[in-house]
């Protein structure tokens, strides 16, 4: 981590960048926040990069692109897909970004640790990039607990797309392969359910939704200035879960709007206060796109046409869906 700070200070000092977009230490040791740093002092005292720095900073570059001067941004391998996609959509300015691709050993989910019954967490040791990332020692109000790093990882890290940075000016820190599950296994499990089981599954999950919009607002693909659900354009501006249909409409359309653009960064699931596995929507579209139109990974580059702005004469007919099962 110190290497990141040193390099950032260098780049600030030589004028390459005028600010640094990274993560700032939280007050609890596991709640860092995205932050801008403009001085060496600030970097020294507040900068952090460890297992809890899950936040994808690429979306912040939309605002940073409007500012004068270059911003140094730290992007994890999965964040670089989002950044590419944002370049493709003219939402960020590549020229305004100096990208340091940072290694990733899998990001941690404090909610998972809590779900293991660990209460009153004061600090977590073993989350730093220098550690082996095998075991976490959780100090709590009620004694110390040992937790497996892998078990405490975010879902997305278990189905990691790989630790290659898709775009970066330089790459720092070692990564660790964390993929140990099939990306579409969960989707396939649902697909195998009967229609009623599927319906009940999603009904239950979406019954938790409070329409807080965290999934949407954190999503680098949901970069609309004003979401259709906040505007009058479709007469669908709704904020509250009055009826179960509303959430369904919201989540289907949100997933549809990001279909072919979603890089599967997993931020939606990470931030959902109710723990709804929102990635199951996006990943279904990704799986279908792969199946129907050939494998496609959004954000692999900044040029390729997205699957929903593309076609072939011989594309499958919708009847492939409506007539099956």
């Amino acid at each position: 981590m110190q290497r990141l700070i040193d390099r950032a200070k260098e780049l600030l000092a030589d004028g390459t960048v005028v600010r640094v977009l990274g993560w700032k230490k939280g007050d609890l040791g596991f709640n860092p926040e995205p932050a801008y740093f403009e001085t060496a002092e600030a970097l020294d005292s507040d900068f952090i990069y460890d297992g809890f720095c899950g936040a994808n900073l690429s979306k912040y570059m939309i605002e940073a692109s409007k500012k004068d001067g270059k911003t140094l941004v730290f992007l994890k391998p999965c964040d670089t897909y989002s950044f590419n996609q944002l370049i493709k959509e003219h939402r960020v300015d590549r020229e305004k970004a100096y990208i340091i691709g940072v290694g990733c050993k899998g990001k941690l989910d404090i909610e998972k640790i809590k779900a293991m019954g660990v209460k009153g967490i004061l600090s977590v040791e073993g989350a730093s990039m220098d550690s082996e990332c095998e075991t976490l020692t959780v100090k709590t109000l009620y004694g110390d607990k040992e937790v497996s790093y892998n078990e405490a990882m975010l879902e997305r890290c278990h189905v990691c797309k790989g630790k290659e940075h898709q775009i970066a000016d330089e790459v720092m820190l070692e990564s660790r392969d964390t993929k140990d599950a099939e990306r579409f296994a969960e989707v396939e499990k649902i697909e195998a359910m009967s229609p009623l089981e599927k319906f009940e599954f999603f009904k239950k999950e979406l019954s938790k939704c409070i329409r807080c919009n965290a999934c949407r607002n954190v999503c680098p693909a949901c970069s609309c200035r004003k979401c259709v659900f906040d505007s009058t354009k479709f007469d669908e501006a709704t904020k509250a879960n009055v009826d179960s249909f509303e959430e369904k409409m919201f989540h289907i359309i949100r997933a549809f709007h990001v279909a072919g653009r979603c890089t599967d960064c997993g931020e939606c699931s990470r931030v959902c206060p109710q723990g709804i596995p929102l990635h199951l929507f996006n990943r279904k579209f990704i799986k279908d796109i792969d199946t129907f139109y050939g494998e496609f990974q959004a954000g692999e580059d900044t040029e390729t046409k997205g699957p929903l702005t593309n076609f072939t004469f011989d594309d499958v007919e919708p009847s492939i869906v409506t007539e099956r099962g």
């Binding site: 959509e89 003219h90 970069s223 609309c224 004003k226 259709v228 354009k233 929903l308 702005t309």
Partner: protein
Amino acid sequence: MQRIGVFVCHCGSNIAATVDVKKVVEIISQEPGVAHCEDYQYMCSEAGQAKILEAVKEKNLSGIVVCSCSPRMHEGTFRKAAERAGLNPYMVEIANIREHCSWIHKDMEEATEKAVILARAAIAKVNLNAPLYPGESRVTKRALVIGGGIAGIQTALDIADAGYEVDIVEKTPSIGGRMSQLDKTFPTLDCSACILTPKMVEAAAHEKITIYTYSEVDKVTGFVGDFTVDIRKKARSIDMDKCTGCGVCQEKCPSKKTPSEFNRGLNTRSAIYTPFAQAIPNVPVIDREACIKFKTGKCGLCEKVCQAGAINYEQTDEIVTEKYGAIVVATGFDTIKLDNYDEYAYNQSPDVITSLELERVMNAAGPTKGHLERLSDGKHPEHIVFVQCVGSRCNDNRGKSYCSKICCMYTAKHAMLIRDKYPDVKVTVFYIDVRTPGKNFDEFYRRAVEEYGVNYIKGQVGKVAPQSDGSLLVQASDLLDNKQIKLKADMVVLATAIEPDPSVRRIATMLTASIDTNNFLTESHAKLRPVESPTAGIFLSGVCQGPKDIPETVAQAGAAAVKAIGLLAKDKLLTNPCTAKSDELLCNGCSVCANVCPYGAISYEVVQVNDHGIREDRRVARVNNALCQGCGACTVACPSGAMDLQGFSNRQIIAEVDAICR
């Protein structure tokens, strides 16, 4: 909130017999926003339109709903009426209670209920209508004719004679088309070449006509009045300016084994060739697949013998880009492949031929120099059997469902010509029906039967079997005598179904002109707009639209020309105001809309916006109204809803959905 007037049309009894019009009026009068509601016998009549005018004035209406026939029928009529009443024409919506209601339902209660719902949907939509104003676009005073057969030639001549520039694009080395392959024409038995060649010459000589032979349309962009077309002039390997058409190269060419397209493969031609003697232009092309020079690099004989130095092996395809105001499709036809008709032994016996092949056999310039002889052994036939409806009027999927229209007449012609020239030859025709509507057609057919003794048998040929003695055994049913018959024949001529030239699919796609299941181009209205494609600025000439004989083709060619001239005569066109529009405050500048726009109508610019007090520079989408055709692809691609379609806005469609589902 609009003040809406609803007008319910009886359409005589067309609507009123199934829809309780009075009840519709009663219910709709109670709808919020409806300030006036009445019914009338024929809303489209002068008197009906007058009612609209009167109501707009008296009730100060701001929007109009007409419950009547399809908007494809009378939307224009009622828009004009609204305009006369002082309203914007786009404040009119039609509820289609005839085609989509009264005509398809029998139960009056159901139909009435549906009519009410359709009216409500239209009311809901018109409530959100806003005045729209058409823009203007220019008209390029030049027409493109695709296809250089008789249809294309005639269209081009008519347009050119009216004083407009016309280009003909013909994919083969010469104009002339199918008609140039015919020997004689019915019902007057004129020599085909004698009447066609002067037209070809006239076209070639016309100062307003440019002919691109051995060329194809590569790309079409733009829209009515302003098409841009890339024409690919295929490498002819001959310098057209230098060639004198002396023909020496063709004589000397050592590669003479290529089947002649012009003679339907019945004989061969050289690698450097003009398809036929009267070809226009009289400039050969080198068939690079057959040419020894191109295959091996050796030979080059033609270059040596050409005194004009016109041979150019280095020539490459050339793209000519030209702008047009109107495009006429005249791509013609071909006969269907007979691979599915093994029972006629077409692929097995050279003595089983198609009628078009018989034309070449009968023609003095054909493979037999006009002598009627068997192609297998050159013997003079004693008995020729004609089989009608081969692949036409077919109810399985081997052939075509439609009647090819020309076969009855040309078969009568063939039979008559043979009997006339070779009275010794016996001619039998198997037919399902003989169809001879047309001036002097039935008389022509009767002459064949009565004067020339052609033996017509109503019945179908089940099998043609080549015999060991070289003859053909024809097994057929005689439907009138209700018996199976077997005949020995020397030649069998198949009246093969015709189908649109296969190239038409690609062209239709480029032109965004619709095509039917048989690949015939669709006309805008089967009765009232038979030579216009539904795509504005595209006109149809000849068999590409449906089977026709020569007089009909020429008539339609003229009609298509008139329609094209009517368009070219205008200086400006009013553009459809139902175009996409982007709300710059909501636009993300993400380019997804431009990615799906088929017209390149969307561009981006950085503008300073004032978004509720926030001033910033933003990249936003701009729609070029002259280019936008209003498909709406962009509106769905746009995630934020910034892009909307005027006249079919998100909220309008949603309002219709709501009204229907409520």
